[in-house]
């Protein structure tokens, strides 16, 4: 049918099977997640692919992508370190934690490290307020929580990821 479909045919059929025939359009969000799995953002050509699979217009797919914060139209770091600075976390020091993480990584909030690996972002409540400071890591098609953080623990995690990526590149 198209590139996205051919690549993930089995998975896409599984997604479509979750919804009734008249609700095919429900697959649009799962498909956007699928489309950004590899690169961390939704490539433009995927929009028309998704439109074709779900039977809606490309403009509709693009506006849905724009509405939801977990979909990204632009490339960024391979991993997004998304630190919650919403009220309950801020009451437990997450704003200064964010500042320190930015300093350690040599970036401002919203920026990407020179090696292209990490983008640091401030985000809203992630339902982990009792374990602040915390962040979620979005990348490689996954979203993982890291809770009860401090700068040292987080920088260790960052280093582990850097090692993992370096090892990958050598292999």
């Amino acid at each position: 049918m198209n590139k996205l479909y051919n690549k993930y045919e089995k998975e896409i059929l599984g997604i479509l099977a979750r919804y009734p025939a008249e609700g095919k359009r429900s697959a649009v969000m799962p498909l956007l997640f699928l489309a950004q799995r590899e690169t961390g953002y939704v490539p433009t050509e995927a929009l028309s692919n998704i439109a074709e699979i779900t039977g809606i217009s490309e403009t509709d797919v693009a506006s849905i992508m724009g509405f939801y914060t977990l979909f990204h139209a632009e490339p960024a770091g391979r991993y997004r370190i998304q630190i919650c600075t919403d009220l309950p976390c801020a009451l437990r020091g997450s704003e200064s934690y964010l500042e320190q993480i930015c300093e350690k990584l040599g970036v401002k909030e919203g920026e990407t490290t020179a090696d292209g690996l990490f983008t640091v972002e401030a985000v809203k409540c992630l339902a982990a307020c009792h374990r602040a400071p915390m962040f979620q890591l979005q990348g490689d098609g996954e979203i993982k929580y890291y809770e009860d953080q401090n700068v040292e623990i987080t920088m260790q995690i960052v280093e582990e990821i850097r090692h993992k990526v370096a090892a990958e590149q050598e292999a």
Binding site: F67, F71, K124, A127, C129, E142
Partner: protein, 417 residues
């Protein structure tokens, strides 16, 4: 003696494994309803239990089930697992640690309204959790509790998870339905209500995760047993998500009617650094800011008492504790920034109002405001109230108005006269 009704994983290790769950009375209630109860009798039992919706509004659950018309089919059930209100983290613990009880509750609700398809709508950030639930659903299918002709009866049910993608507004039930249909998460005009015209235009029941998790034990032990906890108008237990300036933030499952005093000082270990408590919010960022005087602290946390005594709805019971070091102008700058970020933009008062409140409080925090701006901020909030399509607009103003009225001095330190 087991202590918990909802957070049973704290009593029973590995209750997230199907065999352990079953060995601890798991699925007894579901088996009972599909094999021996009429759907209407299930609804009646839940009505009698007095269970009220735990998603925020506190609407009686059994009564809501009764709204689905019997002349329009199919019916759908959707579990609201969007959990995005700042300060709320209870549904996540239930699903992560006691998933089968939640799923069994969803199955009981589905049977009661005779739905053959149910969805769990999770916020997109719960990506790992959705994969985990998918495994648990598989386990139930393999064991014959989900699928076609369940346990030899005529009843069939399928459950699927569906991930949102980062939008608080999708917790509002009609925005959730739009989102689940693959559209922008923007609330629908009501009426019609989802019970009549919901998912794909069909009658749809939407219940919160915690609401559903109450059902297995209500069915198994009966409405009277459930009513032995809580208050007359707010029966049962509730999970209080406690956050902010307390020593032991976390989820506390307690009977409705426990006082603020007991929750914060006995269970929550009191205020950090032995500071003085200044204020509380009971429904996350959507709350009034209530002065934590003795009268407030003695208030029982139940739907009716919170309204009657301190005029601040219990909501999702996400209690944010604020101590004497918290600057209320800063607090308001945080809450309005949240709502500005989350406004879906469909109606002007909410979209523009949250934009202006955010801008005014930003200037205040930068000490660039004049004293008139405090009243301007308050009046923008008042102009938003009562003019919005959904409750988010209203929510954005609650902390603003109450904080300005009750803690004006905090705002004055940021302005020039």
């Amino acid at each position: 003696m087991e202590k918990y009704i909802l957070l049973r994983h704290r009593d029973v290790p590995e209750i997230d494994q199907l065999d352990v769950y079953k060995a601890n009375d798991g699925l007894v209630a579901f088996e009972k309803v599909v094999k021996s109860m009429q759907p209407a009798d299930v609804t009646l039992e839940v009505k009698n239990s007095g269970l009220r919706g735990r998603g925020g509004a506190g609407f009686p659950t059994g009564i809501k089930w009764g709204f689905l018309p019997n002349n329009s089919w199919p019916h759908y059930v959707v579990a609201n697992a969007d959990e995005s209100e700042p300060g709320t983290f209870k549904d996540r613990e239930i699903m992560e640690s006691n998933p089968f009880q939640f799923l069994e509750g969803l199955m009981i609700a589905s049977y009661a309204v005779q739905a053959n398809q149910a969805y769990v709508y999770l916020r997109g950030e719960f990506w790992q959790l959705a994969a985990f639930l998918d495994e648990k659903i598989k386990d139930l299918e393999v064991a014959g509790y989900l699928g076609e002709k369940i346990l030899g009866t005529d009843y069939s049910l399928k459950i699927n998870t569906h991930l949102g993608a980062g939008a608080y507004i999708c917790g509002e039930e009609t925005a959730l339905l739009e989102s689940l249909e693959g559209k922008l998460g923007q609330p629908r005009l009501r009426p019609p209500f989802p019970a009549a015209v919901g998912l794909y235009g069909k009658p749809t029941l939407i219940n919160n995760v915690e609401t559903l998790t109450n059902l297995p034990l209500i069915i198994q032990k009966g409405a009277d047993w459930y009513r032995s906890f809580g208050t007359e108008q707010s029966p049962g237990v509730k999970i209080f998500s406690l956050s902010g300036c307390v020593n032991k933030p976390g989820n506390y499952e307690l009977p409705l009617g426990v006082t603020y005093q007991e929750l914060i000082f006995e269970h929550g270990g009191g205020i950090v650094n032995d500071n003085k408590i200044k204020a509380v919010m009971s429904a996350g960022a959507s709350s009034d800011v209530v002065v934590a005087d003795d009268f407030c602290l003695q208030t029982p946390l139940a739907y009716e008492t919170c309204l009657d005594r301190i005029k601040a709805p219990l909501g999702s019971a996400s209690i944010i504790v604020l101590d004497e070091t918290v600057d209320m102008a800063w607090l308001v700058s945080k809450t309005v920034n949240f709502f500005k970020h989350e406004s879906c933009g469909k109606c002007t008062p909410c979209r523009e109002g949250t934009f202006w409140m955010d801008s005014l409080t930003k200037h205040m925090m930068a000490n660039e405001s004049r004293s008139e701006d405090i009243d301007l901020l308050r009046s923008v909030a008042l102009q938003v109230q009562g003019k919005c399509l959904c409750a988010l607009g209203e929510f954005s103003t609650m902390a603003v108005v109450t904080a300005v009225d009750r803690f004006r001095a905090d705002f004055e330190t940021h302005v020039r006269s």
